[in-house]
């Protein structure tokens, strides 16, 4: 058990992945000598060499396109997209090629590629550095979309993603890179919760609160605040957005009868909308109130001086929870 920041936990997990399999390679912009702009790949090129930790030209489509070629040759690329808003030049290769190639090949091709994306706001960044594009990928068949919320999950989930034979979009909550918790680095990976399972983070009885990535900590804090008001929140870290662990979600909602989905992403057409539809269909007679979403408004990401108003925070989550009691 050691105490690690989320960034360092990812770094250690990536190191394990490189040690585990000689075919694993890391590629991206500034991932080598610099160690990535968030230092997630710090020291890896020094220890594993330039052939395995590759500083690529500055072209995101090229990163994913060549990663596909490497995978076809038997390699297991872990790609870094430097910031959420920079993924779109690679969107075509991800959606048109990466997600579909196994299907097109009738299963003869496998593409074990991880695409790491630091996502979300809250760090006072300029435009295109604070976005939450995860639902665009969750909407795309053929991609597994996961997100870690704390250092312990960061450490295990990045290793699980690296071992997956399917493409994995791995969303890292960038404002939590510096959060620290204990990480069981000596625990066997086989004992870890599978990456496509949700986790009940805080058990509760009154309202189910679903979240992932940067909102996990915020929702856990909301549960503490709600408890002082006499309300018991059950906070679930979804961890996997595609596929969704609906068994865990439905079991909780059947118990509580109320559900609030929290994410930084725009609510329109988002993960929360999908969950609301599924929960309404499967838990209709258990619901005491409609499923509510707490997320970003349907505007582009605002200038950072406004982001505290744009992003869900503890108070907006509690407001959402309160509203489920108004029906």
């Amino acid at each position: 058990m050691t105490t690690l920041t989320l960034s360092k936990a990812l770094n250690e997990g990536l190191r394990k992945a490189l040690e585990d399999n000689p075919k694993t390679v890391i590629m991206g912009e500034d991932v080598g000598k610099l160690g990535g702009v968030f230092r997630v790949t710090d020291g890896l090129q020094k220890d594993f060499g330039e052939a395995r930790v590759i500083d690529t030209p500055l072209a995101e489509s090229g990163i994913i396109g060549t990663a596909i070629g490497l995978a076809l040759r038997g390699y297991r690329p872990i790609c870094e997209i430097q910031f959420d808003g920079f993924v779109f030049p690679a969107f075509d290769q991800i959606v048109t090629q990466l997600a579909k190639m196994r299907y097109r090949s009738l299963g003869t091709v496998r593409l074990p590629i991880v695409v790491r994306i630091p996502f979300g706001g809250g760090i006072g960044a300029v435009e295109h550095h604070s976005e939450s594009p995860e639902s665009l990928f969750a909407h795309t068949p053929g991609l597994r979309v996961i997100s870690c919320g704390d250092p312990a999950d960061a450490y295990t989930m990045i290793q699980q993603a690296a071992r997956s034979d399917d493409p994995v979009m791995f969303f890292e909550p960038k404002r939590r890179y510096w959060d620290k918790t204990d990480v069981a680095t000596d625990a066997p990976l086989a004992d870890a919760l599978p990456m496509d399972s949700a986790r009940v983070l805080v058990p509760g009885t009154d309202v189910t609160v679903l979240c992932y990535g940067p909102m996990v900590r915020t929702c856990a804090e909301a549960a503490v605040a709600a408890a002082s008001d006499g309300r018991s929140l059950e906070v679930i870290d979804l961890r996997s957005l595609a596929p969704l662990d609906t068994d865990t979600i439905f079991a909780s909602v059947r118990k509580t009868g109320r559900c609030v989905v929290v994410h930084e992403a725009v609510v329109t057409g988002g993960i929360g909308a999908e969950i609301a539809a599924q929960v309404t269909q499967e838990c209709f007679y258990n619901l005491e109130a409609p499923v509510l979403r707490v997320g970003a408004y349907t505007t582009p990401y605002p200038p950072s001086r406004l982001e505290e108003h744009y992003l869900p925070d503890l108070d907006r989550i509690l407001d959402g929870v309160d509203r489920t009691f108004g029906y």
Binding site: S61, G65, R102
Partner: protein
């Protein structure tokens, strides 16, 4: 002033004479080993030691792939294929380059590389599956080292370059090395992915040959819409050699591709080959080229037919008997019959198979959707039985 200048620039651009394809084709940099009349010529950089039997084998390939193409067009016209992308006119570029590959080399095609597919040993019926709508391709790329057809323009150039980077990491460059060839067209050279692939291949010195079949037309858009410089010259800006070869000359395509592939295998990095050719047919069976190009152009290119010149060469230089040509025709006809039969006998896929192979292991969600759809289909059977 600025406005006036802009206007003048626009006018002068309009007045600028369109580059003559003929002049480009006859320019000194076009590598040719067999003239349209079937006369063997030498090129100092591309000596080709080839036996008559080898030429005959190339001739056989050319005739057969044209026949497969012909059969596929007919099948489309008869409603058996949804669409077909004809390779008519590009047989030499594809057979010449395709036969320059070793079994260990890897090829990344577009959707028109039926001739390359033939050279790699892929059953032509597999190609028809895609155009009939029975599968999206579905062959195992490792079986013939021939990747799936890529339909989005230029995407595969990056896959080929990444694959070549894998060859480098496997230590498979050098003596007895491996290399990759990737096919694309003149239109694709405008794609960002193709330009990114050039950069990646260049800075990594990757063992990949970029084989551009410049067939002059990207559906309705002539080369002038894609480039102001001859395409092969683009390579210079990226830092690797570019060559232009007579794409209707199977011997030149063979020699030029062999040399580029060998250079790549030995660690000398990428080459861009521009095979200068012509799309004799429509872009696909849904296209109507009479809307955008003159028949005179087509007539001029007919005189440069890639098959006829090999035939003339075999007759005049090697006194090949007519019986050889008859045998090849007969064999091609047999292949045509086989392809037709395979197409007509192709079963539609089972409805539930659409849930297969989305992931390496089925997710709970997909399993549930599969079960839901199966139950829905079964409900019709039950309804039928109740009647």
């Amino acid at each position: 002033m600025a406005v006036k200048d802009a206007g003048r620039a626009a006018r002068s651009a309009k007045r600028a004479p369109a580059r003559e394809p003929e002049r480009q084709a006859d320019s000194p940099e076009l590598i040719q080993l067999l003239t349209p009349e079937g006369e063997r010529v030498e090129h100092p950089d591309y000596p080709l030691d080839i036996s008559v039997d080898e030429v005959k084998a190339l001739y056989r390939d050319l005739v057969i792939v044209r026949r497969i193409d012909f059969e596929a067009i007919a099948l489309q016209r008869q409603g058996e294929l949804g669409i077909w992308a004809s390779l008519l006119g590009q047989e030499a570029a594809q057979v010449g380059s395709g036969r320059a590959l070793t079994p260990r080399d890897m090829a990344f095609p577009t959707y028109r590389e039926h001739g390359v597919a033939w050279c790699r040993g892929l059953d032509p019926a597999k190609l028809l599956e895609l155009y009939r709508g029975v599968s999206h391709g579905g062959w195992d790329p490792t079986e013939h080292n021939f990747h799936l057809y890529t339909i989005v323009i230029g995407s595969q150039t990056l896959h080929a370059t990444g694959y070549a980077m894998g060859i480098q990491r496997d230590g498979a460059v050098g003596e007895d090395g491996e290399a990759v060839i990737v096919y694309f067209g003149d239109g694709a050279t405008s794609q960002g992915d193709v330009n990114e692939a050039f950069i990646w291949a260049s800075v990594n010195n990757a063992p990949v040959v970029f084989f551009c079949q410049n067939n002059q037309w990207a559906i309705s858009e002539p080369l002038e819409r894609q480039s102001r410089v001859p395409l092969y010259q683009r390579a210079l800006g990226f830092g690797f050699p570019g060559v232009r070869v007579d794409g209707n000359d199977v011997l030149a395509c063979l020699a030029v591709t062999r040399k580029a592939m060998q250079a790549a295998r030995e660690g000398q990095g990428p080459t861009l080959i521009e095979a200068y050719t012509y799309r004799m047919g429509a872009h696909t069976t849904t296209d109507d080229p009479t809307r955008y190009r003159l028949s005179a152009e087509l007539e001029a290119w007919k005189l440069k037919d890639p098959i006829e010149r090999v035939k003339q060469y075999l007759i005049r230089t090697w006194q090949t008997e007519m019986s050889f040509f008859d045998e090849v025709e007969a064999e091609a006809a047999e292949v045509g019959v086989r392809v037709r039969r395979a197409c007509l006998e192709m079963p539609d896929p089972q409805p539930l198979s659409m849930f297969d192979n989305v992931f390496t292991s089925e997710t709970r969600q997909l399993a549930a959707e599969r079960a839901e759809f199966a139950a829905y289909l079964d409900s019709f059977v039950a309804e039928e039985a109740a009647r």
